[in-house]
């Protein structure tokens, strides 16, 4: 990644202002023109580093619930289970981890009941149990943004 790309990506992660011309404002923070800023972003998108620039909403403010779940999945059933999770929009992240509880995934839905219902449906369909339901009881931090030095290779 070039220094310019790293600066733009860092600034874009921190957030765009809600102004008519947000890329002009973003460019000012990076010392670039509006056109150069947009061009850099579209290059980052072509390279696959930037997925999109979109809204980060606060599920708690919307009254929505989320949870983290983990379950043990035998190796020969990972593909099937992975396809099932891929098809559910409520499941936003899923990872395989090196632990007896090897599958970890996050669920987001309008209510805690809906989250729990999805986990029950998971067991009903796959027969895999127990699924540990681990909703956050306290949020100390939620933010992902990286400093320019982390982004320059």
């Amino acid at each position: 990644m070039t220094d310019r790309e790293a600066r733009v990506l860092t600034a874009a992660q921190q957030g765009l202002p809600l102004k008519e011309r947000p890329f002009a404002a973003l460019g000012e923070r990076c010392g670039l023109t509006e056109a150069a800023t947009r061009e850099t972003l579209s290059q980052l998108q072509e390279q696959g580093l930037l997925r999109e620039i979109s809204a980060f909403l606060d599920p708690a403010q919307l009254g929505w619930s989320s949870t983290l779940a983990c379950v043990t999945v035998p190796a020969d059933r990972l593909e099937e289970v992975s396809l099932l999770l891929a098809a559910w929009p409520e499941v936003t992240h899923s990872y395989l981890r090196d632990h007896p509880y090897n599958l970890w995934f996050t669920v987001i839905a309008p209510t805690a009941e809906a989250c729990g219902e999805l986990l029950r449906r998971f067991t009903a369909i796959t027969g895999l149990a127990p699924v540990q339901n681990l909703p956050a009881t306290r949020v100390f931090k939620v933010h992902v943004s990286f400093a320019p030095e982390d982004l320059v290779s």
């Binding site: 809600l18 981890r97 982390d150």
Partner: protein, 162 residues
């Protein structure tokens, strides 16, 4: 309560900004609102804390951030507040949550730690463990990412009518 018009703004903003000079004009057209009203509603939603920010979603691995660790910690209840705040202040920590422990899994504080390389992330974990004096922790290495998408929030059924 979120007004139906506000939901139209949130739905459009979740779809992503086109990289054009006036991206909100394009999104406002999708939401069937004038650009000025769209922006004003978006600012109000941000002031209310519903819209945290409008920002870039990146692919960490492609961006050269390869050391992404989930680390879970066993923290005594009376120290949870202080340790949580301490970990949250670390740049390398992107997420820090209290979650319930379960059978054979006594960990109650969850952190996501990011660095360029795994070794570097592991050094950060070792330093945090030393500084916070928390020997009982577990690093859950990522074997592979199966799915990563943005959540899709939608209005309650009754709100569809405007």
């Amino acid at each position: 309560m979120i007004a139906p018009r506000d939901w139209r703004v949130l739905t459009a903003l979740q779809g992503g900004l086109p990289l054009v000079e006036r991206p909100f004009a394009a999104l406002a057209a999708q939401a069937d609102l004038p650009e000025a009203e769209f922006l004003q509603r978006a600012r109000d939603l941000q002031a209310r804390g519903i819209l945290r920010r409008l920002g870039a979603r990146i692919r960490h691995q492609e961006a050269g951030i390869n050391g992404n660790l989930l680390v879970v910690w066993q923290v005594p209840a009376e120290r949870l507040e202080a340790v949580g705040a301490r970990f949250a202040s670390e740049l390398a920590v992107s997420h820090c949550y209290q979650r319930p422990p379960f059978e054979d899994f006594p960990y109650n504080l969850y952190t996501m730690i990011h660095a360029r390389e795994v070794a570097e992330a592991e050094q950060i974990v070792a330093r945090l463990a030393r500084e916070a004096d928390l020997p009982t922790h577990l690093v859950l290495r990522t074997v592979c990412e199966l799915k990563k998408t943005a959540p899709i929030y939608y209005p309650p059924e009754a709100d569809h009518a405007d």
